[in-house]
Amino acid sequence: MSADTTSKPARESRQSGPVVGFLRWLENLSDTQYAYLLLTPVFVLLGIVAIYPLLRTFELSLYAVSTDLSSVRFVGLDNYVALFTGEKNRFLPGGTTFLPTGLDAANLLDSALVITLVFAVGSVLFETLIGLGQALVLDQDFYGRRWVRAAIIIPWAVPIVIQGMMFFLMFDSNVGFATPILADLGVVAPTNTLNDTVSATFIIIVADIWKTSAFMALLILAGLQSINRSLYDVARVAGASKWQQFRYITLPLILPTIGVAVLFRSVQAMRVYGIIDTVSSCTVVPSLSCMVVSTFNTHEGTSAAIAFVTAAIIGVVVMGIILWQGEDAI
């Protein structure tokens, strides 16, 4: 019993019965116990929508379908062993693999794990830098700031399919205008652009940066606006330059916010699928989610194993980011 309940006598009533008993028990709970009671529905819902699917996915990953697709048998962890030894690569689209089969560029770019990491690091890095720049501009007082904020958020509001079609059409051989310009600069392949892994990956990263930098900017802007402005007054009086003000006041104070933003974006980036499917294809730009979707119809066990490993990799990345943030982590 808590201090509350020991210091006050329990309420007494002459009424009895299960409902009355329950309500009496309820009213005698400590504040902490009452808080957990109110949170119980949330835990139950979370269990249903998050924990159960994860466990069910793991269960599915312990089975394999026969070659003729007519029967399913329990194989334990064989799907995981086969996935990491390359045995499952034959079920993946085109010549893609789960892990790289060599260290040359071609083998690395065939790997779903490598492509996913390249996409996640590339897109999140540039989105953070561009978002930070946008946030610093939006944090200033200038005429029309409200309209600029609205304009910056527009790409983030565009649905993925629309965004994908925009970039697809930009590089489409019938109506696109971007391929000749970028091919002259040596950035993308001049022909078969969207079927070239390097070019298509680059285009997909750019498309994601275009869309999601605004999300980073808004989060970082929230952090910027929480900084006490008098700190800058003090710094100016002390003769600090603009760079020194940024280096010693702004950056340390918004770093926790940037950390949270990077965390959210990294989780999203590791699950990339929609933009790949609309701009190019999973055969050309293999991501981990692509592999899950591509194998689901014919090899549920393999698909579930890849999904579970993807969840584990995301978990490891998230833990890494949280550890990196230290005490400032959420």
């Binding site: 309500l23 309820l26 070659t67 034959r90 010549g95 051989s173 689901f296 119809n297």
Partner: protein
């Protein structure tokens, strides 16, 4: 305490734990009961498909083509009764499927895996039917349909097309052909005549020519007319390249994915993989000649070349049709639906011909290949084994098998009849514009090559399309691409 009016007011406005829990519990219980109410009802609501129609008959739900179900559902329903002789107490509801064939397949897979009772019947791409058969997800029509209907299908329908609805192991029928689809070569008569050719006199409509002769015509006609492209087709990394365009070209050279026609549907793991062979490599080299003008040490020096854009590497059906419709191409390979569109644009200037060939059948390395080859597409009617209205479903299938109904489909949708005899009927010949091109379609229908759909085709098709695309895109040589494909196909043929 009560003496202080402020305190009293505060106390009055606060919510006790008891009241909060009571209110939350009552709200939850009410909402829960409301949500579950339909589960305990008698099913008379509008939520589910019901077996009884408004007039007291039976309603059969048919998973159907999205566009047709939305635009012509009433006409189809009427035709089933008037032309198909369907009983008036059976009503057919057309349930639109996703336009994307692969997505529709996934949806039907989920429905059948969870043993849903509706739709009662499906319209399934002939490319997936075998996979559903292998999974035991379809009703065995050999046991459901009457003997008369089974013998009609066996004796009058295109055998090659019907074969894609038959279980190779048992020989039982699991789908009734609705309409076959096979491509032809569309061309601009005015442009080839300008280059000095006479398609009518030379019977281009029914007599296939060699790729060598055809390529020289295409190159010359492009030069003379000044249009952008001599030929447009599909060679993207997608299933259409594996099942169809590449399959057609390599088969016309006497090549095969799995050793010949008899191995198209298996047995998986026991059939040979034969893509790393001369006919297949030659077919890819020929495509490279058409696109890049390579002559491969003189082997293709007497072929026309360089008249096909590299754009084909990213084109599928509609994107390759667009430049032809715009008047920027001489030749174009596509399915019958493209004939309707092109005919409305060019009228009598549109010609069709069977696809050209590399070697005649007598010189083909693998059995059942060589000569003009059109990939076999098309759709079957299949039945949900969990349907509770199998008698009504059987009647709908028989109505859809009536010749009058099949001609109605040809007229309204351009869907080709699944029986050869209807190609020669007067009604078919009178239909505009398809009637003008029935001769070519009949020849193409007699020279089809089914896609090798087995339980592992899903894994194989993307690997085939990728290597075919890489080879024609000059990323690797044709022989390197086929050596890579050979080993990856052998991997997919292995047991799990």
């Amino acid at each position: 305490m009560t003496a202080n009016p402020e305190t009293s007011k505060t106390t009055k406005k606060s919510v006790s734990r008891r009241r909060f829990i009571t209110a939350a519990g009552a709200t939850g219980a009410t909402a829960g009961l409301s949500g579950c109410a339909s589960m305990f009802g008698n099913g008379s609501g509008t939520g589910g498909q019901v077996g009884e129609s408004e007039s007291g008959g039976t309603t059969v739900v048919w998973g159907f083509d999205a566009t047709v179900a939305q635009d012509h559902a009433d006409q189809l329903r009427t035709a089933l009764h008037e032309k198909g002789g369907l009983s008036d107490d059976i009503r057919v509801e057309f349930q639109p499927g996703q336009p994307d064939s692969g997505k529709r397949r996934s949806t039907y897979n989920r429905l059948l895996s969870s043993q849903e009772t509706t739709p009662d019947m499906f319209m399934m791409d002939n490319g997936w039917v075998n996979i559903f058969i292998q999974r035991g997800q379809l009703a065995n029509l050999s046991e459901v349909l009457p003997e008369s209907a089974l013998s009609t299908i066996e004796n009058e329908y295109f055998g090659g097309f019907t074969e894609t609805a038959i279980d190779p192991a048992s020989g039982d029928l699991f789908g009734v052909p609705l309409y076959p689809d096979y491509p032809t070569m569309l061309y601009r008569k005015d442009l080839v005549e300008e280059a000095g050719y006479n398609p009518t006199e030379e019977n281009w409509a029914t007599e296939p020519m060699t790729w060598k002769r055809w390529s020289n015509i295409a190159a010359e006609a492009q030069d003379v007319s000044g249009v952008d492209y001599g030929f447009t087709t599909q060679w993207d990394i997608y299933v259409g390249t594996a099942c169809c365009t590449f399959n057609e070209v390599l088969s016309s050279w006497g090549g095969a994915y799995f050793g010949g026609r008899e191995n198209l549907f298996g047995p998986v793991g026991e059939r040979p993989v034969t893509v790393d062979s001369d006919p297949v490599v030659n077919s890819l080299n020929m495509m490279r000649k058409f696109v890049h003008g390579e002559s491969f040490g003189g082997e293709f020096s007497d072929y026309g070349g360089g008249f096909t854009p590299t754009n084909i590497l990213g084109w599928i059906e509609d994107s390759s049709l667009a430049p032809f419709i715009d008047g920027n191409a001489v030749f174009h390979r596509n399915w019958p639906y493209a004939i309707n569109q092109a005919a409305s644009e060019f009228g009598d200037d549109l010609g069709t011909m069977p696809l050209p060939y590399g070697v005649p059948e007598s010189e083909a390395q693998f059995p059942g290949t060589g000569g003009s080859t059109s990939a076999l597409g098309g759709w079957h009617i299949t039945v949900n084994p969990n349907s509770q209205k199998l008698d009504a479903v059987t009647q709908v299938i028989q109505a859809s098998m009536r010749e009058e109904f099949q001609l109605f489909l040809l007229e309204i949708e351009g869907w080709l009849p699944p029986r050869a005899s209807l190609f020669n009927s007067e009604t078919a010949a009178e239909l505009e514009p398809a009637g003008d091109y029935m001769d070519t379609l009949r020849v193409a229908g007699e020279n089809t090559m089914a896609r090798p759909v087995t339980a592992v085709w899903n894994n194989q098709s993307s690997k085939i399309a990728e290597q075919a695309n890489r080879a024609v895109g000059q990323e690797v040589s044709s022989s390197e691409a086929m050596a890579t494909l050979q080993s990856s196909l052998e991997e997919t043929e292995r047991n799990n």
